[in-house]
Every structure is written in C-alpha cells, then in structure tokens.
C-alpha cells in the first residue's frame, strides 16, 4: 500500500493558481454537494408546480400555507427519523407510535377529562417509552433496527387498538346505554388553529420547534457528534470512547417523543383518536429524510437537508392534489420521484 493523494484533495491543493478563474466551478461544486442537490430537487418540484399550476391555484398564498401545514405531522416524524438514520438505523414504528399517542391523547382529554397539560406530558412519556423499547432492543439486545422497529410497529398498532377497543375515540361517549356528546376540549381547537391572521398553523409552529430542537442537538451537542460517529464507523467510535449504546438508545427515544408530538397534532387535526391513523407515515418520513440526502448507510446528513426533503415531498403532494391527480397516479409519481431524487444523491459508491 502506498499513500496517494486522492482526486478531491489534489484538486483542492492544486487549485490555488487557478482559483477565481471560474465562477462556474464554484457553482458546479455547490450543486454537487448534498445541500446543492437537495435544493435543486426542491426547485425542480416547484417548477413542476409553476408549469402545472392548476389555473393559478399554485400561485395562491393559501396553497403554500396548506403545504406547510399538511407536511407538518410528517415533518415532526422526519425530525426523529433523521437522527435515527444518521446512526445507520431506521425507525419503522413511527406511524404506529403516532397512533398510540393520538388515541391516548383523545382518551385522556375527551373520555377521562384530564387537564390538557397532564395529557400532553403523559403522551410524551408514552412515546418515549415506545422509543426507548426500540432503542433497548437495538443497542442492548443487538437486534437489527429494521427487525426491532418492525416488531414495535406491530406491537404499537395492536396497543392502540387494545386501549380503544378498536373504536375511534371522539366526543361521542357511550355511558351505560346512552350516548352523550361531550364538548370538544379546547386544546384541540388551539392546536388546530392558526396565528398571524390565519397564515401560520399551530401544528407548523410545533413542527418548527421540533425541527430547531433536533437541529440544535445534532449540530451543537456532543450527542449529535456521537450519532454521526456511530453511523460513520461504529467500531472506531467505540475505540474513541464514544458511548455507542447510549447514543443509539437516545436516538430512538427521541424519535419516540417526536411520534408522541405528531400524534397529539394528528388527534387535534382529526378531532378524534383513531387507532388506524398514521399507517404508512413511516415510509413518508423515511422518504423525506432520504430525499434530503441523509445517507441510509449512516454517518452523513443534516437537519437542513431533511427540511429540504420535507418541503420537496410536501410540495409534490400538494401539486398532485391541486391538479386532481387520482390517488393511483399520485402514488406512482411519488415513487418515481423518490427513485430519481435518490439516484441524483448517489455518491461515493465504493
């Protein structure tokens, strides 16, 4: 083995004399970075919207507002998912844990008349417990993340059905043999409302808060570094004294908490707790993370990329829906776009 200077370095080192000669080079470099490519994808999707603007519907303010609002629940899941995927893992249980949280919130506030803040805290704890169950199976019992979270996904869905008896939890409450209609707890209306003259949905605010929290942890906390190093090279991380197991465990726990937050938002938007809700959401969340350019192999990615991915998928779905593309077509087009996006992200295939 001989040391050699690999291409990128040679270019960087030797580029001194030629530097400044080409703005084009800078642009191509920016475009070939993960962030550049994710931006490009988003722009292409927006361009699609401009072309297929459904008689100008795409240019209305309301469309963009709705896009952000509708992407918010998925976006919250994608925040937790990003951290998990950076460790080289995956969390398939998010849709089901969202459902558990959603029905728990509805049960506690509607049927049991708990104060809203206690119900929220309880839901967050429930989400954390489910997340840490995945985390423990993966980091302590050494199960593969796919298997462990697949099991949790199934279990959580069953749990949601168990605590609701398979029924949707709403303001219609059966007491003995008569049905009474309760008032919708005010917290539901609060979460489902909008501020700034109806321009910003509260769920979008909640998403942005989750996003910023995840971003700060990932970019500025020791734990964020640990997640990257575990995903990049677990053995090297272990030999550098990184608490590998704890870092992974916390990533799944964080994802569980994000599911709980998303579940509360979901309940508020649906004004009920549906044990069937959130099915398939895990796949949308994963698609958002991956389209952004965070590597499924682990070790590379960022919250910024995930934001671009969330917007890309969010806009894509919005554009398809304003053009009244039937569901069959919508699913097929989304599938194709995911493949195209990930193909452009492909790098370092060694």
């Amino acid at each position: 083995m001989v040391s050699e200077i690999r291409e990128p370095l040679r270019r960087d080192l030797g580029g001194g004399s030629k530097r400044g000669s080409s703005v084009l080079q800078t642009i191509t470099r920016a475009l070939t970075s993960s962030a550049g490519r994710a931006c490009l994808e988003l722009l292409l999707v927006l361009l699609l919207g401009v072309i297929f603007n459904a008689d100008g519907a795409f240019f209305k303010e309301g469309t963009h507002r709705d896009t952000l609002r509708q992407a918010s629940v998925y976006g919250i899941l994608a925040c937790g998912m990003t951290l998990v995927i950076i460790t080289g893992g995956i969390d398939l249980s998010v849709g089901s844990v969202l459902a558990v949280s959603s029905v728990s919130f509805a049960l506690l506030t509607m049927h049991m008349d708990w104060p809203w803040w206690l119900a929220i805290i309880t839901c967050l704890l429930v989400g954390a417990v489910f997340g840490s169950a995945s985390g423990a199976l993966i980091s302590n019992a050494k199960l593969q993340p796919f298997i462990a979270t697949l099991a949790l996904m199934t279990f959580a869905r069953g749990f949601a059905k168990y605590i609701t008896g398979g029924q949707k939890i709403s303001t219609y409450v059966t007491q003995g043999d008569k049905v009474i209609i309760k008032e919708l707890p005010p917290i539901f209306k609060v979460i489902d409302s909008r501020i700034f003259g109806g321009n910003l949905a509260i769920v979008s605010v909640i998403f942005l808060v989750c996003f910023i929290v995840a971003w700060i942890f990932l970019a500025r906390h020791k734990w964020g570094r640990e997640l990257f190093s575990v995903g990049g090279n677990e053995e090297a991380a272990r030999l550098s004294g990184v608490p590998v197991r704890m870092a992974k465990f916390l990533a799944y726990t964080f994802s569980g908490i994000m599911c709980a937050v998303a579940g509360i938002c979901q309940a508020a938007q649906e004004t009920q707790g549906d044990p069937e809700t959130g099915a398939g959401y895990e796949l949308t969340a994963i698609a958002m993370v991956v389209i952004g350019g965070t590597s499924l192999a682990g070790g590379r990615g960022s919250m910024g990329l995930t934001l671009l991915g969330i917007l890309t998928i969010g806009y894509l779905q919005k554009i398809l829906s304003i053009n009244a593309v039937p569901e069959a077509g919508r699913l097929m087009i989304t599938g194709i776009i995911i493949v195209l996006a990930v193909l452009t992200q492909k790098r370092r295939t060694k």
Binding site: H221, R225, S229, E235, L239, S240, G241
Partner: protein, 509 residues
C-alpha cells in the same frame, strides 16, 4: 525429479510498488515446500498468483512443459491448483456439505445431487480424519475444524498442488497434529504442497524444501537438509541496518505501566487464548517494542489493555504503581491510555467526518464537558494539532476519507494526542504511508518520549522495531518468548523468538 509446476521470473506490481522481483519457485510432487519470509516479503502475493487471484504479473508459469496463466481461482482449480487462504473462504451460514461442493456441484440435468454430495463429502472427510457431521452448519464449528474442512475441500477438487497459507495459525496443539497427519497423507499421494508458516517448529517437522523471500526478492531456495536454522534466520533477516531511524537517547525514568499475568481470551474460551499470561512493564519516556509475526497476539494485547475486549481479559494492570481496572475504551482514555489501531480505515478514523471532528473525537469529555459543543474551541484544537503534526489538508473541514494515507494517519495520531495521553499503544503506526511521513512519525515519537510519555510499539517492520525500541519484548502465539535490552537487540534474536524459539536470548528480567 521434474517439478509439478515452476514459476519463473515472476514480477508483480501493486500500483508503482514492485512487490515481487523476478522470483523463481518450483513445486515438486510428494514434497512440502516451505515458503518463508518476514511479513510483507511477498509470500502471499506469490502464491496468490499461482492460485489465480492476480493475473497481471510478468514471468512464466510452466506446468508439464506447457505455459499456464491462471486467470481466476476457478481456473486454477481446473488446472489442479487449490489454495487454502489465511482468511477462511467457507460460507458460515451454509452446511459443511454445501460448502464442500460450492462452485463445483455434482449435477444431473441441472439439478444438484444432494444425496451423492452427502455421501462423497462424508467419505472424504472421514478418510482425512476430520470428525464432523456433513449436515452441521459451518458457523457452529470451531475454527480449527473449519480450517480442516477447507483443506479437505481442496482434496475433493483432486488438486495436485495445494497451497496452505498459515493453516495452523488458529489451531490448538491437537488440531495441529491432525493437520500434519493430513499433510503427510497428501504428500504420500504425490501431491505438491506449498506451506507458508512463521513457526520454526513446523518448518522442522514438515519441510522438504525451503524457499525464502525478502522484500519481494528470492533470497534462497534449497532442500531442507541444506538449510540449518541459523542459515534460515540469516536468509530471512539479511539486510544491513541503515541509519534511517533517528531514535534519540531516551530519558527513561520511573515505571509508568506494569502488566502482570495478563491474558486475552478468544470469544470462545475453548480455543487457545490470543494472549496467555504475559507480564512486562514500561517506564516513562521509554519505547518498548513488541516483536512478533502474524498471530503473535500483540494487537489483541493492545485491545485488551485498552478495555476494548471487556470480559475477555484477565490479569493485573497498574499505572504508575496504582492498580487499575479498565473496563472500556472510555475508561482507558480517562486514565491516559491511547490506542492507535493497526487499521485506520476500519477502526481508527470515521472517514465520513471532518478532520476537526476526528481530531476531537476522543476528547469530547473535555471539549464538551457540559454536553454542548464549542465549535470554535474544537477548530482551535484541531488547527494547533494540525500544525504540530504538519498535517497537509486543504481544509480542516474536509472529510478525512479524502486525505492521503500519511495525512489520515496523522489525523488518527492527532486524535490521541488531543487526549493528553501518558501511555500510547501504537499498532503499526507507519503502515501504508510513504517514507517522508514515516520519518515525521519517528520524530514525533522522539518528542513524545521526551515529554515523558511511554510508548508500546507493535510493528511488522523489523528495521523500525530494532531502531526505535529501547527494549524489545517478543511474542509468539500469545506468550512472551524473549525480552531484549537495547544492547542485546538483533534481528536474528528477535526473529528466532518470534518463530517460537524460547531459549534464544533475554536477560530474564
């Protein structure tokens, strides 16, 4: 006697590096031909060419008056050449019988003949004295049995030439006997055997003919009776020491590390341990070299001392006179121990992360004591370290994977220096880097010892070991076979001890 196969003037390059230089090598029927030489002498490359792993060599291979050019392992098999490599090539999740016929199934109109497979595999194995059920899964079998299965598989191919690259490295004494019986049986069948080994004992017992390579060149080839042990060692060492290693006279002071009866077990305790009750010490400012050939256990000793193999170590370790228990790498780092691993790609660096992130990776406990990182402080630490190590990188934010080998190694070293170590375990610190970078690393080692750091050095490069060590411990199959002071150090003594000769030196301290 005519050779079964003769390789003439074989030359092979890896990139710009010549790893074999006009080597001649012949294999005769009914003979065990020992191929010897230090690590990196070119032995494995030579046999891999014969086994079809590399076809871009220069030179001729002649078999029965015909020139052959094995283009793939399968092609070599067809020519009657089979290789048993150091790394097992069995598929662990498959059964013995399925492995046996992997790539060469017996078929009838395209369908595999399962029954015939089982019968034939069972016969061959029992004839070879390997007691194993053909239906068992390979992963459930001990490594020794796997190795024997691998060898018998080569017999099944009816190979006339068998190449065994250190087949005994994982075997215990009993299995080695089974192996030898097998080898003698094969010899009796007039097959030609190439046997690579680092153990003098095996050379004594098996060799009919010996060939020694050094630095890719043929040193000598003769019948075993014409090569006494002393001559063999001379052949292997050979080179004149050049004044290329700048070890300064050390300032050795008080004892920094003492290790007593330290063992590192394998994952399964049924096998002989990697390291078997070794004891030694190292002083502040001292470089203790640990010599040994492949399988000596030196790397495992390092991992064990560093807490990376928890529950598999036994023994007492004390730092500056105080007994310590090191349960994890984090423990070790906190106590001032660093481990530069021998494979920076696999275990040293996180190549997807930046230079800064890697340099700071082992010091996060200090750099982010409250949990929140201080990027500016990290950049400062990284750039200072970069300067101290004369790191050449376009930017400290570039990914480590994009650096050259020498600079990657400096990043790996920088990571450990940042932790402020008192003891550095260096495993192959100059592997795969160019001469210039090597020199810089030797200079750094001088600087560190001048600051009172003690260094344990494992290296497979004999000149480096001889020149940089203030004292050398030699290991062979997990035990210490010699301890040589600076005055006693010689390549011959180290090599003898590394090959298992226990009375070959040492002042018994």
């Amino acid at each position: 006697m005519l050779p079964l196969v003769s390789m003439n003037g074989i030359t092979k390059f890896f990139g710009p590096v010549k790893v074999l230089d006009r080597v001649d090598f012949s294999i005769y029927p009914g003979e065990v031909h020992i191929l010897a030489g230090e690590n990196g002498a070119g032995k494995s490359t030579l046999v891999k060419i014969l086994a079809g792993a590399y076809s871009d060599y220069q030179g001729r291979i002649v078999m029965e008056d015909r020139e052959i050019r094995p283009s793939s392992p399968l092609d070599a098999n067809r020519l009657g050449i089979a290789a048993i490599h150091q790394e097992l090539s069995l598929i662990p999740s498959m059964t013995v019988v399925d492995n046996f016929f992997l790539g060469h199934p017996m078929t009838r109109s395209g369908f595999v003949m399962q029954k015939a497979h089982r019968q034939s595999a069972g016969e061959i194995l029992s004839r070879a004295g390997v007691d194993v059920s053909v239906a068992s899964f390979v992963e459930d079998l001990p490594i020794s049995v796997q190795q024997l299965i691998e060898i018998t598989r080569a017999i099944r191919l009816n190979a006339r030439i068998l190449i065994m690259d250190e087949p005994s490295s994982a075997l215990n004494a009993h299995d080695v006997e089974t192996l030898f019986t097998l080898v003698r049986q094969l010899k009796g069948e007039k097959r030609g055997i190439v046997y690579i080994t680092h153990r003098l004992e095996e050379i004594h017992r098996l060799a009919d003919r010996i060939t020694v390579l050094r630095d890719g060149k043929l040193v000598g080839s003769a019948l075993a009776t014409e090569v006494p042990e002393k001559k063999l060692i001379q052949w292997m060492v050979g080179r004149e020491m050049e004044e290329q290693f700048p070890r300064h006279t050390p300032q050795i002071s008080s004892e920094a590390l003492r290790v007593e009866n330290f063992s590192v077990h394998r994952a399964s305790r049924a096998h002989r341990p990697h390291v078997d009750r070794v004891s030694f010490s190292a002083a502040r400012g001292e470089i203790v070299g640990i010599g040994g050939l492949q399988g000596s256990g030196a790397s495992e000793l390092f991992l064990g001392l560093f807490g990376a193999l928890p529950k598999r170590t036994e023994g007492r370790v004390s730092l500056e006179g105080k007994a310590v228990h090191i349960r994890s790498p984090r423990d070790a780092i906190a106590k001032g121990i660093s481990l530069l691993t021998n494979d920076r790609k696999a275990t040293g660096l996180i190549s997807s992360m930046s230079v800064t992130a890697n340099i700071c990776a082992a010091s996060m406990a200090n750099l982010a004591a409250q949990g929140w990182r201080r990027p500016r402080e990290e950049s400062r630490v990284a750039s200072e370290m970069g300067k101290a190590l004369q790191l050449r990188a376009a930017s400290l934010e570039m990914e480590v994977g994009d650096l050259s080998g020498g600079n990657q190694q400096k990043v790996a070293i920088g990571k450990w220096l940042t932790t402020n170590p008192r003891i550095m375990l260096l495993d192959e610190p100059t592997r795969g880097i160019d001469v210039g970078a090597k020199h810089e690393i030797y200079q750094l080692m001088n600087e560190w010892t001048a600051r009172g750091i003690s260094i344990l050095l494992v290296t497979s490069e004999m000149p480096e070991l001889l020149a940089m060590s203030d004292r050398i411990i030699v290991m062979h199959r997990g035990v210490i076979t010699a301890e040589l002071s600076r005055q006693e150090i010689s390549a011959e003594k180290v090599l003898e001890a590394a090959m298992g000769k226990t009375n070959g030196g040492g002042n018994g301290q």
